[in-house]
């Protein structure tokens, strides 16, 4: 079933049928009705490739995920982000294509992506500090939005990011207010921009109270459960162990909890934990009473917002770069309490 057949079936020209279906005004309401009805009946829907060729728009957005030979791989956040973005695409009639690429010849990859022409815009995931992809994409003249930001790049570009520094500053302050002075930071990989900013927030909060960060209380790594366990395990074994932890993800926090229990301490009483929580659909932090005190920001919402921004820029390429900074909420759960009195 294609346009030609449909047109023949209706005794109309392809032109008219095409216009009728695409809502152009130079076609009578009556024939438009006839056409749309016939289209539905015969299960006609236009061939996207042909349409794309003719219009120059692919009606699709590309998500590029670096899948480096180290183990970053697809991270748990991705599913929810995509779900959010999909909401936006669904409404706008856009498709989504995924490219997991090794990060060898990045430049070539993006250039090809553009030349192949099956996406109208790109969402960039997992920006590193001064990420080289950003200036490159800017030069490519293809609309893109970064999920996150890249520090130390002053060139303007579109991004949607959580205020990571602010979130960790608040979390740190919260713990400081509870009397904690030795706060372990169990961070993500710090060449990733978000993790870098989180450490900044943490250190700023400490500095504001005249405290210097203890290197023994800072750890950076991939945010798995065993990593959280190990990091907490080691720090708790110190002569002067931390009374509180700040972790970068719920999964890591779960590992921290395991380590705390294993040493016979109790979370929320002997040791406090505040975690960042991406509010993932399958990793809920409890219902009414959150298990962990957390700084929470829905990555699914971020996905929707990022996609909407991109679609705006695809529709109007002349738009100046736009940015959105999302604020994370601090929600109080059962994992925090006043610092235990020293004895």
């Amino acid at each position: 079933m294609n346009l030609k057949m449909l047109a023949a079936h209706l005794g109309l020209s392809q032109t008219t049928v095409s216009r009728a279906l695409n809502g152009y005004p130079e076609v009578s309401e009556e024939t438009r009705k006839r056409v749309t009805e016939a289209a539905r009946e015969l299960n006609y829907s236009p061939n996207a490739r042909a349409k794309g060729l003719a219009t120059g728009r692919a009606m699709a957005i590309g998500h590029v995920i670096p899948i480096s030979t180290q183990h970053e791989i697809v991270n748990p956040v991705f599913g929810d982000f995509v779900a959010g973005a999909s909401e936006a695409y669904l409404k706008a009639g856009y498709d989504m294509t995924l490219s997991l690429t090794g990060d060898e010849d990045e430049a070539q990859n993006y250039r090809r992506l553009k030349a192949k022409g099956n996406v109208d815009g790109i969402i960039l995931h997992g920006p590193k500090m001064k990420d080289a992809r950003i200036p490159f994409l800017t030069g490519l003249k293809m609309p893109f939005v970064v999920h996150g930001r890249a520090s130390e790049l002053d060139q303007p570009y579109c991004w949607v990011d959580v205020d990571n520094a602010g979130a960790f500053r608040r979390a740190t302050n919260f713990l400081l207010d509870l009397g904690h002075r030795r706060i372990g930071l169990i961070n993500g990989l710090e060449f990733m921009d978000f993790a870098h900013r989180r450490r900044e927030g943490y250190e700023e909060a400490l500095a504001a109270r005249g405290l210097a960060p203890d290197p023994a209380l800072g750890r950076s790594g991939e945010m798995t459960e065993p990593y959280g366990y190990l990091a907490a395990h080691d720090m708790l074994a110190l002569a002067d162990p931390p009374t509180a932890f700040l972790t970068a993800s719920l999964i890591t926090a779960i590992g921290v909890r395991r380590a705390i229990h294993e040493t016979g301490r109790e979370m929320g009483r002997d040791v406090s934990v505040v975690t960042y929580d991406d509010d993932l659909s399958y990793l809920s932090n409890g219902r009414d009473v959150p298990i962990f005190t957390a700084i929470r920001s829905s990555v699914r919402d971020a996905g929707r917002i990022t996609a909407e921004m991109l679609l705006r820029h695809v529709a109007t390429p002349a738009l100046p770069p736009e940015t959105t900074l999302l604020e994370a909420q601090l929600i109080i759960g059962g994992s925090t309490g006043p610092a235990p009195a020293k004895h």
Copy 2:
């Protein structure tokens, strides 16, 4: 940069250039070299849409994920599956497009997907028991492979699945061998086919020893941490509590562990836990010594295998349906031990 310009630049016809680039024999090796070099230099890569139009192949695979209004949403397994599938696509030069669809007018969705013509094949996720999409897709004459299976459908189709029943039979037997008699099953949603089969395996193993499943020890739900916690919490509060749990995912198992600790018991001594483990990249079950005894099967491998099967069928549509049953490994970790003696 397109074919026409490249041809002009080389003083050749589009035909010859196209053939040179696509490895056809009716072009001299010398000109082929000239052409490929010029193509690389000028950063030419063919427009995928035009190519698709001309060849009738989209060089892309569609993943359709039901995103129902209930809360299944994108599940944590998805990211790893996609990473595996990408390996196969990358090698074969295929792209991947994602469609998250509401499950209202499924039939219409798939029909449109085919008519739009930007995928050559489909991977079906999350099959339910006697899933209606399977007969429908068969009728559509578009190659597809199901990740999982649908019980109570005797029609042939391509699938890649883990032997869920076998895995849970083995896990149950393992616990029975350790002397456990009251084994709680904390399962996924049982209208999903995989969860249904897991229960079957569990019940078969019990039946083989003349045990009847206690309804109070069976629970079905979305595999979140709080769900695992709640289920275990409730069962442990029974007059005759279970001495072991069988859980459907690592995340759920983590909730179970929390419940066990909360009642002052110790996992692996007072209460045993065996979990299903999808071997997710970001949710590792410990390194050398696994935290949980688990039945493990890499969902990432499954993704690769499924994609490879689909590509085979896209290349040769006449191939008869093919199936692959993956066996899960039983790996022993610290979460299991002999049933505590009754007193």
